[in-house]
């Protein structure tokens, strides 16, 4: 969604050049990607296109075979600790500790990022309350539904006030109300100047929330831009992202 009137600084929050990763096959193929500061960037693509692998390399979870990753000007491969200090990662499979309560989990995350408890404690409360977990603050997470676990994981990612939030399918398993909570929270963060990169299969979310959309197929970025730009690039003036996506992916599949 374009938000007219909101000034966007143009410094890049993330700059990826020639990023390459091979497993049994080439998963990411010399990918170039730039995400501007304060931007909501959606990365879409078919299953196995290389979205998650790309983001895992950006988050420091996978070492690329080649290429460079810069987060706010920090070389994330040379100085991963500095890059991680300003980054948060949320995966589609919420990884939290069953035996900790949401508050204890957030206390642990804040401790890992070295945040002063005087700041992190109220932030943790506020985050959990805003995500509808007020009644469960002191319950261990082992009985939580997937949606609740995802919300705890998201709160953990936000409690250290990251400048760059990387989310891999964060809405998977969330009900409509929870999804709206999460989208609202992410929108607030972007408005406050935070940068968000998100992969999603829900094209409607990308269409409505993202400033720019990147379409990835076979490990390469095959199209990028605002929805209007994508339409223009593909010669359609009035079509949905879903139709555009299918057209782009079909072209790539045929070319491959």
């Amino acid at each position: 969604m374009d938000r007219p009137g909101v000034m966007k600084p143009q410094q890049s929050a993330l700059q990826v050049r020639g990023l390459t990763k091979r497993f049994d096959r080439l998963a990411v193929d010399a990918l170039d990607l730039t995400v501007r500061t304060g931007e909501f960037y959606a990365l879409v693509g078919p299953n196995g296109a290389g979205k998650t692998t790309t983001l895992r390399m950006v988050a420091g979870l996978l070492r690329p075979d080649a290429g460079s990753v810069e987060v706010f000007g920090i070389d994330a491969l040379r100085d991963p600790v500095a890059a991680k200090q300003v980054t948060a990662w949320v995966s589609d499979e919420p990884m939290i500790y069953d035996k900790l309560t949401p508050l204890e989990y957030l206390e642990f995350v804040a401790g890992l990022w070295g945040i002063d408890p005087a700041m992190s404690e109220p932030a943790a409360h506020q985050l959990l309350v805003s995500l509808g977990l007020e009644a469960h603050l002191h319950e261990r997470c082992e009985g939580f539904s997937k949606g609740m676990r995802q919300k705890v994981a998201l709160a953990g990612a936000l409690v250290h006030d990251p400048r760059l939030i990387i989310l891999d399918e964060p809405l998977t398993g969330l009900d409509a109300v929870s999804a709206r909570h999460v989208k609202g929270l992410l929108g607030d963060r972007v408005r406050a100047g935070c940068t968000v990169i998100m992969t999603t299969h829900i094209l409607e979310v990308a269409e409505r929330m993202a400033d720019r959309i990147g379409v990835i197929a076979a490990g390469r970025l095959v199209a990028e831009g605002t929805l209007a730009e994508l339409r223009q690039q593909n010669g359609h003036t009035d079509t949905s992202l879903e139709d555009l996506f299918i057209a782009l992916v079909d072209v790539e599949a045929t070319a491959a």
């Binding site: 991680k84 206390e107 642990f108 890992l112 408890p117 261990r140 953990g156």
Partner: protein, 507 residues
């Protein structure tokens, strides 16, 4: 498909599942199964050597036996039954909580009573199959040394397997009724662990208190035991007589086992579906809250250590495993107490037991803290060098080991300061070695996979066991024959060096 065909099909399905679960457990999920199976066969063949050493001299035993021999043989059968019961309780719990097919089965158009009868039978079959596998080297040795009559021992294994499965199902379902599904899981796990070792430990304690030795046979072969034992024609001795080839006793045992299992099937199969459904619906095992308290300050490593301590303390499975390790420490503790009062030389035996326990416990803790990280991505994306993360986790292992073993070492210090020093050194070295092995072979996993940690790397498992045994032997030898202790220590260090050399390269 007729009902009978459906049941046969389901039985085949159950056996295939049990076989694959077992194979996955034995091979660590590796694809090269043929190699794993050959390895297992070689292992089973090699097991005939220790089996010969342990049981070979008894191959010539023939009925009628004297009371001491009957007691020893019956106690051995009882121990085997306890171990099978322990395994069966685990299997039943796994079927209730871990199998993901309950929804599918219960929504299918089959009669659940019959399907669950098959499942109960499959549990019995898997328990018996495992027992037969483990007992084969021993029975083989007896058959080779004493003749075909010893084949009857296989029948006894089958009979006690049937009864162990029956009792396990009855106990687990009774626990469901009494304490509910959420608590049953934990209690059944602890029960399974304690039953497996409790019998041996109880015998050891009785032996120490009565005869000042750790040998469990001291109690069984004592005159007092023979005096209290029933007459030779008592039913109590029928399992022992059946092992010796008494056909009538064997048939009675088999019939009893079958009747017990049949009764359990008839009684519990109709309720099995209910119980399983309740268990699978119990996804909220623990709603205990924690009291509100302020966030704590501290370094990033402190945050990691605090988290590890919290998770260890709140992990019921780990608590039960730790309890098991501590249970093994009770006999040496009793020995220590007894020796302290009369200065017996047997106190030397305390050192290897304590060192061995420290090594084994440290291995388990190290797996949980280093490999069993449930939020691996979170920790990996934290602004902290990986080496500092690992260091914080190792510190947790060593702190827990210190807290558990320090009181015992201090108590030992009052009885014999040099032995306390040797024991302390042994505990530290054994714990550090086991932790190092876990570090070299670390594979990211979930804490819930703790039970299967030993299958992820056979080499690491054996290295951990040999390292603990090696350091335990070195500790004992350091007190008795220090020169040989140097050789034993060097051998153990060589095992560690070879293990490191064979371990996967780390970044």
């Amino acid at each position: 498909m007729s009902q009978a065909t459906a049941l046969t099909w389901f039985a085949r399905h159950e056996i295939r599942l049990a076989w694959r679960e077992w194979l996955a457990m034995m091979t660590g999920g590796r694809r090269k199964r043929s190699r794993a199976v050959i390895g297992l066969i070689v292992f089973a063949a090699v097991m005939h050597l220790p089996a010969y050493a342990v049981i070979g001299r008894f191959a010539g035993l023939e009925a009628p036996l004297d009371k001491s021999s009957l007691i020893v043989m019956s106690a051995t059968i009882l121990l085997a039954w306890a171990l099978m019961l322990s395994q069966a309780i685990e299997s039943v719990t796994r079927v209730f909580y871990a199998r993901a097919d309950l929804d599918l089965i219960m929504s299918s158009p089959v009669r659940l009573t019959e399907v669950f009868s098959v499942r109960i039978a499959a549990i019995a079959l898997s328990v018996i199959a495992m027992a037969l596998l483990l007992s084969t080297p021993f029975v083989d040795v007896l058959v080779i040394g004493g003749g075909a009559r010893w084949f009857a021992a296989y029948g006894v294994v089958i009979a006690i397997g049937l009864s162990a499965a029956a009792v396990a199902i009855a106990v687990t379902i009774a626990l469901f009724r009494l304490i509910g599904p959420s608590r049953t899981r934990l209690v059944a796990q602890i029960l399974a662990a304690v039953i497996g070792a409790g019998f041996v430990i109880a015998l050891q304690i009785a032996a120490i208190l009565s005869y000042g030795t750790l040998s469990r046979f001291a109690v069984l072969t004592s005159d007092a035991a023979a005096r209290f034992a029933p007459d030779a024609d008592s039913l109590v001795w029928w399992p022992a007589r059946a092992v010796l080839g008494d056909g009538e006793a064997l048939l009675l045992l088999l019939a009893t086992g079958l009747v017990l299992l049949g009764l359990v099937m008839a009684t519990f199969s109709p309720r099995f579906a209910d119980t399983a459904a309740r268990a699978s619906a119990t996804v909220t095992p623990d709603h205990r809250g924690s009291r509100a308290r302020a966030f704590r300050t501290g370094s990033r490593q402190q945050a990691l250590r605090r988290k590890e301590f919290q998770l260890l303390w709140r992990d019921p499975w780990l608590v039960s495993q730790t309890l098991m390790q501590l249970l093994y420490l009770v006999p040496p503790a009793v020995m220590l107490w007894r020796s302290f009062s009369d200065s017996a030389l047997a106190i030397v035996l305390v050192t290897p037991v304590v060192v061995m326990a420290a090594g084994q416990l440290a291995g388990g803790l190290a797996w949980l803290t280093i490999s069993g990280e449930d939020a691996a991505d979170l920790v990996a994306t934290a602004p902290l060098n990986p080496s500092r993360v690992v260091r914080a986790k190792i510190e947790v292992v060593l702190i827990v080991i210190s807290v558990i073993f320090a009181p015992l070492v201090v108590a030992l210090g009052f009885a014999s300061p040099p032995q306390a020093a040797v024991t302390a050194a042994g505990v530290i070295i054994a714990a550090a070695s086991a932790t190092a092995i876990q570090l070299w072979f670390r594979v990211q996993g979930k804490r819930s996979q703790f039970r299967r940690r030993q299958t992820s790397s056979r080499l690491a498992t054996f290295a951990e066991a040999f390292s603990s045994i090696g350091w335990a032997a070195t500790g004992a030898l350091a007190l008795a024959v220090p020169v040989i202790a140097v050789i034993s220590g060097l051998m153990t260090a060589a095992i560690l060096a070879a293990t490191w050399k064979l371990s996967p390269r780390r970044e």
